[in-house]
């Protein structure tokens, strides 16, 4: 049952040291403000799951919150490497990071299976490459009708999913539009969830009979954090700040510039710092 919470309350209640955590968002709607709160609260030993770990995971890894990463593509899209991720993997700074590496298809299927309450997913994949040699969780299942060998992977069942969305109503029903990623699946697959939103409204807009909605009884915490996806974006509110993504390459390249940025922009700030980034821009907003 959804509760309207403050970000600090929500993270305190939902995210615990050692948890398996999915902060999802496929370019769009990445929960940056929630990630910053996790850093501020100093969580340790997290297993981070995500198809496309990007800046917010670079930050969590660089601040020493994570000991394990389950992922399929870890880079700064269109820019290059995630320097903090690389530093952890290549040099063990600030601590060692164990990797569990998949393909996108595997990750998407693992979330889907988790949402569907299944123990595993099957799909046609991982044929011929080396990933199955370095990831023991990739197995094979034989189709009992055709004899075809399919890839099998365990379903994702995170302890907590954290996502950002455009809106919730006061009951806590959350509506998502645009690039949907695997957020709905991540929430349905998880034991607990925190959803930050651009705004909480009296009534969700009547956009479509088939709108993507997470009902209140599938969510634990709903938090209004306007601008909370920056530098990612919220369709209908603000665009992706591609310039910041490019700038991150410089900030994160060295440990000291990274730490200075985190101190000034995360440790010494609160979620209200994100409000400056939001402004309704387009039709999707209504």
């Amino acid at each position: 049952m959804a509760r309207i919470s403050s970000l600090s309350e929500a993270i305190t209640d939902a995210v615990r040291d050692g948890d398996t955590l999915a902060l999802e968002g496929f370019t769009h709607l990445i929960p940056h403000a929630a990630g910053h709160e996790i850093v501020r609260q100093g969580r340790k030993g997290l297993t981070l799951i995500r198809m496309t770990p990007d800046l917010i995971y670079d930050q969590l890894i660089g601040m020493g919150c994570a000991s394990r990463l389950v992922f399929s593509w870890g880079g700064n899209p269109g820019v290059g490497s995630l320097h903090r991720l690389r530093d952890a993997v290549e040099n063990g700074w600030p601590q060692k990071l164990e990797l569990e590496e998949h393909s996108h298809a595997a990750m998407a299927n693992a979330y889907e299976a988790g949402a569907a309450g299944l123990p595993c997913a099957i799909f046609r994949g991982y044929i011929g490459g080396d990933l199955p040699k370095v990831n023991a969780k990739i197995k094979r299942v034989t189709c009992p009708f055709t004899g075809e060998e399919l890839a099998a992977i365990p379903a994702h069942r995170p302890d907590v999913a954290v996502i950002h969305a455009q809106r919730a109503d006061r009951a806590g029903n959350v509506m998502i539009e645009g690039v949907l990623g695997v957020q709905k699946e991540a929430v349905l697959a998880s034991k607990r969830s925190v959803v930050t939103v651009e705004e909480i409204v009296d009534e969700l807009p009547e956009r479509s009979l088939n709108a993507v909605v997470l009902p209140y009884w599938t969510i634990q915490h709903v938090v209004a954090v306007p601008g909370g996806a920056f530098p990612s974006y919220a369709q209908g509110y603000y665009a992706r700040n591609n310039a910041f993504y490019k700038k991150w390459d410089d900030i994160a390249r060295e440990r000291d510039t990274f730490l200075a940025w985190m101190k000034a922009n995360v440790l010494e700030k609160g979620p209200e710092a994100f409000a400056q980034y939001t402004r309704k821009t387009r039709a999707a907003a209504d």
Binding site: H28, G74, I127, G129, L180, R240, A243, R282
Partner: protein, 257 residues
């Protein structure tokens, strides 16, 4: 003939390989530039799909990421990512997939995972993303990569996604029914697989490029086709459209941080 850069020739050669009725799974960077150049020139009806779920998108500027709002706003519709990989990619609804990588071998197998040993990497690369299944589920694969001895290698450090495996019928023997890499487009030449051995073979050299230059930038003894053509140089129109696209894109991506 207009003055142009080798990477422009590469993008333009890739765009030309696309047909008006293709349905393409588009990656960020060179593939995205090539696909949109094709769409803005000879292939106005080409269907572009990005793995973020955007079906039949027509971006006005190139996306920096695979899920920029521009892609969604100009798409026919946007589907969830699990659906994208299940119904669209695995469902064999994509004719052409684009791939690139940090390393390629002569059978067009690709590495985007690590340089050095997996457990003690010299360089940890971003990883496979969609590549392992794009490589086997799309009808055929086009690869775009600038040539160099560090990337065109005799032996991959890690096989992230397969091309023609060990050549011959080794790909088919894995049970894969799709064609695999049918074109490798570089800044120097166009390669296609030899019909028998499946080794990637130079079928066309870009204007002014010599065989020696190709060999100097390749980590294995390069095979040339019996007939090697010269790639037609970029037309004024191709260059103009490509440069306008990049200029629009650069303006859009440098808006206030």
């Amino acid at each position: 003939m207009a003055d142009y850069k080798p990477t422009e020739m590469m993008t333009i050669a890739a765009a030309r390989a696309l047909r008006n009725d293709d349905v393409c799974f588009v990656g960020i960077g060179q593939p995205s530039a090539a696909c949109n150049l094709a769409r803005l020139t000879h292939a106005p009806d080409i269907v572009l799909i990005y793995e973020s779920g955007t079906l039949a998108t027509k971006p006005n500027v190139l996306p920096l990421s695979i899920g920029d709002g521009e892609l969604c706003e100009t798409a026919l519709t946007t589907v969830p990512v699990p659906e994208m990989f299940r119904y669209w990619l695995q469902g064999s609804r994509i004719k052409v997939g684009f791939l690139g990588g940090a390393q390629i071998d002569k059978f067009a197998n690709l590495n985007t995972t690590v340089v050095g040993p997996y457990d003690k990497p010299k360089v940890r690369l971003p990883g496979g993303g969609g590549a392992p299944e794009i490589a086997t589920s799309c009808g055929e694969i086009f690869i775009i990569m600038a040539q160099g001895k560090r990337s065109f290698v005799d032996r991959l450090d890690f096989v992230t996604s397969i091309g023609h495996v060990a050549g011959g019928d080794s790909r088919a023997r894995l049970g894969v029914k799709t064609k695999g890499p049918t074109k490798l487009i570089t800044d120097l030449a166009l390669f296609e697989p030899d019909p028998e051995t499946k080794e990637m073979t130079v079928v066309s050299l870009h204007p002014g490029v010599t065989r020696a230059q190709v060999q100097d930038n390749t980590g294995w003894p390069v095979k040339f086709a019996a007939q090697v053509a010269e790639t037609p140089p970029p037309t004024a129109r191709e260059l103009e459209v490509l440069r306008e696209l990049h200029a629009r894109t650069n303006r859009a991506h440098s808006e206030a941080a």
